[in-house]
Subunit: 400 residues, 2 copies
């Protein structure tokens, strides 16, 4: 590698522009730590004239990022625009680095920790809070007593949620993409494409947050990846966790990843998950890794040696359940519900019925003992058709 490294930055949104500023202000520090001088030779974005937080050098601006390679010699390119797929193999075949620390929990050096700091541990499970937008919304609903849609608007104003289409954060998709990256690195396996159990926070009602609070529980969107008898189980869904647990106290835009490995035991990493600062921190750690000539394998081991793991059948996924029924307050309704549960051998741990005298309705909250996903789905299906049950029952899993 030469002593001067030519760098291109493609994408000049919030993250790209912050990164550019960091690169400019940290040139000396980077040279101190790696012995290499960096030189920004090309930048690219859709609009050259857009208002930006920092000034850009228009002389090195390219509207079309692919033209950069015709006009400049680029050693390292930062791509901060969006999704990229199948690049690990191309990178490995060409013996170049592909780094992506910023793709999971920006402020937490989790990918590097799995690939390096915890390498050779047998990781059995990795899980955590991987979507800052969802965690902010859940925390803020609890704190402000406001509805999902009101808090979403606030999150969009504050830049914590996409102003246009926040769907991918809210339906669990973003967290799920991160789970798949964590799985691949933790288990030395291919990025899986299995059908999975994925739920976001879109349907979380303030009412459930309040009831959870009374039960000393809190709702968190968890991403979970686990090896179960050699099968890969990946999921994202809202979980009820204890208010006194570690994960129950990770609030706002914070992310947290918990890793269970042998021989290390339980390792916890927590930090800001998104935003230009934490993301730039991750991007610069990638840069330093490359400049120091560190490992070239994007996924820690050669792509050819990655395992293909069979999927765990999520029908067998076992949890205690929180169920909320909104019902007509008349004789026989409760017994219909409890009989149905009994038929499926789902045993009740706790039941709270709260009448609403005014409109002759009642709320029934049931916490069950453990049961499987399949059993639960079969059991609950019937309630959708019952005219005494006024809405589809709410189901939230308790985290074990």
């Amino acid at each position: 590698m030469n002593n001067t490294i030519n760098i291109a930055v493609v994408g000049l949104g919030q993250v790209g522009i912050y990164l550019l500023n960091e690169l400019n202000t940290k040139k000396k520090d980077i040279e101190l730590k790696t012995g290499k001088k960096i030189n920004i030779v090309a930048i690219s974005a859709r609009n050259i004239n857009k208002k930006r937080q920092f000034k850009i050098n228009k002389k090195i601006f390219f509207k079309n990022p692919l033209e950069i390679f015709n006009k400049s010699k680029v050693d390292i390119l930062f791509e901060v625009i969006g999704q990229s797929d199948g690049l690990a193999k191309i990178a490995e075949n060409n013996n170049v680095n592909l780094e992506f620390e910023a793709s999971v929990a920006g402020g937490i050096p989790i990918l590097r920790s799995i690939k390096e700091g915890l390498a050779t541990n047998k990781i059995l499970k990795v899980y955590g809070i991987l979507n800052g937008t969802s965690n902010y919304i859940l925390s803020e609903m609890e704190n402000s007593n406001q509805s999902f849609s009101d808090v979403l608007k606030k999150a969009q104003k504050l830049g914590y949620a996409e102003p246009g289409n926040p769907k991918l954060d809210l339906n669990g998709f973003d967290a799920f993409a991160k789970v798949r990256i964590l799985s691949a690195l933790s288990f030395n396996s291919k990025i899986s494409k299995h059908k999975c159990l994925m739920e976001g926070i879109e349907k979380i009602d303030l009412k459930d947050i309040k009831i959870a609070n009374q039960l000393d529980l809190r709702i968190k969107l968890l991403g979970i990846s686990e090896l179960k008898n050699g099968h890969l189980f990946e999921t994202v869904h809202p979980c009820l966790v204890s208010k006194n647990s570690y994960i129950g106290n990770v609030s706002g835009v914070m992310n947290a990843v918990i890793l269970e490995g042998k021989p290390v035991g339980e390792s916890i990493l927590q930090g800001e998950g998104a935003g230009p600062g934490p993301t730039s921190s991750a991007l610069l750690s990638d840069l330093l890794s490359i400049l120091r000539g560190n490992i070239k394998k994007p996924l820690g081991v050669s792509v050819n040696k990655l395992k293909s793991l069979k999927p765990y059948n999520f029908n067998n996924y076992v949890n205690s359940l929180y169920l909320r029924f909104e019902v007509k307050d008349k004789p026989g309704v409760l017994s219909k519900i409890t009989n149905r549960l009994a038929k499926y051998k789902i045993s009740v741990k706790r039941l709270i019925q709260t009448p609403n005298k005014k409109d002759n309705k009642a709320t029934i909250v049931i916490i069950t003992h453990k049961t499987s996903e399949l059993n639960c789905n079969n059991c609950l299906s019937i309630f959708k058709k019952n005219k005494d049950i006024l809405k589809t029952p709410v189901l939230i899993r308790l985290y074990n």
Copy 2:
């Protein structure tokens, strides 16, 4: 580097023997991740016949570790016996790796995270729970209601405290050595040799743990390193922290490190601090780093370029204080204490006097507003001579 790497392990105590077993069982995994075969060519300890958890190969045993180099070609040597000093410069001059991830918080990949995952962040502060023995004893005193010396005995039985001489864990020295390593890596500075404020948990009384509990506080031994106006401030001392804080809930043998950096924000890493498993995890991450040909600079930047930081004058260290006085229960004693505090402009935030009618004594607990270390020392000095004050007052700083 050859494809087969010769390895020596010096020290076959709990950690060394666990490491040896890990090396043997993870040979394939290491080859998968690095392309290198490892070959254990020499082991050394004082006693060949000592009872050990795993069998050792006596054919490669050396009583004197220095003889290893005469008889075997060694590429990588694991030293798991004790302290080593000034090695970074020797390693750098000879262009060989010196890795020491296991020296701070075994199960937490903190050194690698600072050198790599968070590299180029401007770190302003790093602190945490760095001594598992002390943290276990404090947690266990609270949980079991037993005295320091009883819990220490229990810790020794369980292998959490050195059976012979646990002093270096209990007087803060061990945590302090870790603080100095964290400082050097965080601030790119030389390992400091400044005189510092260092207190351990030896004098923590069950009585203070109980009173703290009533005040919704908990005592934790914190190691703290901070840049204050460009001066280095390093300290280890017991701190009162809120029971609801993150750090207040890190219990037992767990370690935790909190890092404040720009632009990353606050990063938290938690894991088991000691024991053969977590320590072996750290040692193997060092091995992989070397086998993959990663950075050679032990302290992240060249030894010649490390800064010498001036010490922060710890007389200016400012804290709220918890003071406990054991006094004769007679008129005028309280006013003597409060007058003295007033003279030094130490203002009282909270005062609780509890009489013990039986023996005509009383306990006075005072929580003060913030004051400097110097002011506090000057103020308290007089009480040591006062015959109405029956013991040297207890002082514990509140963590800001």
